[in-house]
Symmetry: C2
Subunit: 393 residues, 2 copies
Amino acid sequence: MVLLNEAIGIVSKSVSVLKGEEQVALAESLDRVLAHDVVSDINMPPFRKTAVDGYACRAADLDSPLRVIEVIAAGTTPQRAITQGTCSKIMTGSPIPNGANCVIPVEDTKILPDGTISFTADKSKSNICELGEDIKIGESPLSKGTLIRPQHIAIMAALGCHSPIVLVRPKVSILPTGDELVEPTEIPHGSKIRNSNGHQLIAQVLSAGAIPIYHGIVADTEEVIEKAIARALTETDVVVLTGGVSMGDFDYVPRIMERLGVRILFDSIAVQPGRPTTFGVAGNKLIFGLPGNPVSSFIQFELLVKPSLLMMMRCNTPYAPIYRLPLANDYSRKRAERLGLFPIIVNANGEVEPLEYHGSAHIFALARANGIASIALGVNKMKKGELVDVRSI
Amino acid sequence: MVLLNEAIGIVSKSVSVLKGEEQVALAESLDRVLAHDVVSDINMPPFRKTAVDGYACRAADLDSPLRVIEVIAAGTTPQRAITQGTCSKIMTGSPIPNGANCVIPVEDTKILPDGTISFTADKSKSNICELGEDIKIGESPLSKGTLIRPQHIAIMAALGCHSPIVLVRPKVSILPTGDELVEPTEIPHGSKIRNSNGHQLIAQVLSAGAIPIYHGIVADTEEVIEKAIARALTETDVVVLTGGVSMGDFDYVPRIMERLGVRILFDSIAVQPGRPTTFGVAGNKLIFGLPGNPVSSFIQFELLVKPSLLMMMRCNTPYAPIYRLPLANDYSRKRAERLGLFPIIVNANGEVEPLEYHGSAHIFALARANGIASIALGVNKMKKGELVDVRSI
């Protein structure tokens, strides 16, 4: 049994970055990981420009009315230099004309009857963006390893990186095991239950930016499972099994993994839910045996599998941010020998409300949850107002 | 000029839910919005079952060794009833045999030389999940309006909702205006800059689960813009323009909107960045005029446009959660007459670090940001450790 942080460390050290790269269109790069630094081919701003709509002039002249000598629209080049007593009307983003050292915002001016402009405020900033003040040619504002979000697409567009090169996405085999499972299209009779894990994992793999390969429910016999894992290890980068990893008589999976040359690095974690989580490596392939209960499977995927998929794509932010937020109510649990994770909702006041939760088979507890909170090993009570670590889901 | 909260309220009241629904496969329902409550066709657990691997027995018998009379695998039905002094070995998720009222976890037992089982712990819970304790037939654990995440897919799979019905996605026209713009494939010369907003908006619309319709850069003449907006209003549900909405001479957009029968509901917000944000309605169509600076455009999309797209899909959680987190450093700003928004990174200690930020054209400030923090109107200083509102990006 390892601690959760140890498990996270072991998984992290076992990851090999995938070798392949591919070039994609800007819009298709969303949620992919940049393979190379994006280097600027221009200065930004590319010229000295105004940050506001207003009048470009000399700061020394603000006490007297100014005569407008030109109107400078965005996208045009000023034709006339500013001299004492003159100004040019200028639109946000336009180049500053020679001679000007400030722009008075239009809302701080009034037009006098003779057409001159008078400054109405007490003081003004320059409102000028200097050439290259945001970025200079050759600088790299966006590093390889960036998980591309919409704001990064703006940066790439600005720098002319119109077909970014991104890492290939890991292929992930999903193998739900268990003779008690039927697919969602079927009605479960007797002691059967529907396979929710497999479909949840498909969605989690998609959300992590990887490619799910769903193999269907794997019958719970040693031969079938061994064959399925062997094939998955050959064809894909990561294998995720659920079920078959706790201590029951029919749980052959750990034995099979060893037979297939998988080096098992841990087979249980001091965490609740999710104790019977197995992790191993075979060459540069990773194999996770997640618990059969869907809440455990969900949480252990988020904690262990998702970061490893992001790291395989060389993502430099593989871990979800942790927010430390106040509990809205007291929280307690009976046993404290493992780190505890429980579904919560962050309410409108930014407080953490634990949700009704019957244990790791209780998937409905996640229906309204927008986060998972944690309570440390050894702690079984927390008071309203105490800060608790939350990751959003 | 309206306050940000007023602007959010005005937009929210202007939204009409889209009429169309469509049926999709489970994996394709990810990030869509459920059109109908999901009702359970089964009890869960569907039978009395064990939460652990262990031995099903009578709690009264725990003081003496127990004889194993059956092995109950997951997916099978117990054949024998438990009587005094007997037990059945049982795998997680299997049905409890008649006569048993508890399951001893396998780790709390040892096998004696005669093959009987002895209980080694001080006390045990029942470890039994009762029939229907998580959900009963006819109950609805997942409401219409749920934005479908992987955990919801597990719930739908469990309940047999294998082809969920979801709301159609809004179509969003993206119209970047400005003669200073060239597309990212071009090198900007003279006073030109590359169009970053348009591509950022495509990605933001995709991230919001809607369909972007990109019309290319719209030339900055009154006729061309009027024609483009008229067409966009006919063909799509939402129109997003950028640029052309501040106070410059060449900013015809508000005038055009009025001519096209668009009722303008506000044309500036007391927020920085993003003051010159225009919003109007034409029938059940929404039209947003976002500022031309990419940081303003980004933030106002997240604050106003994204929630409206989610509301059009009847999403019941259209607003991103707000986290109240401590500042890692003092923060100050020169002017406080608007609510201020600034890019931050939540560090490993859960503290908020403001990032270097030169203003609304400084898109590189968002390269490393994982959140946007806000400082209230009227406040220009906050101290290290004070709590600040953060939304993650």
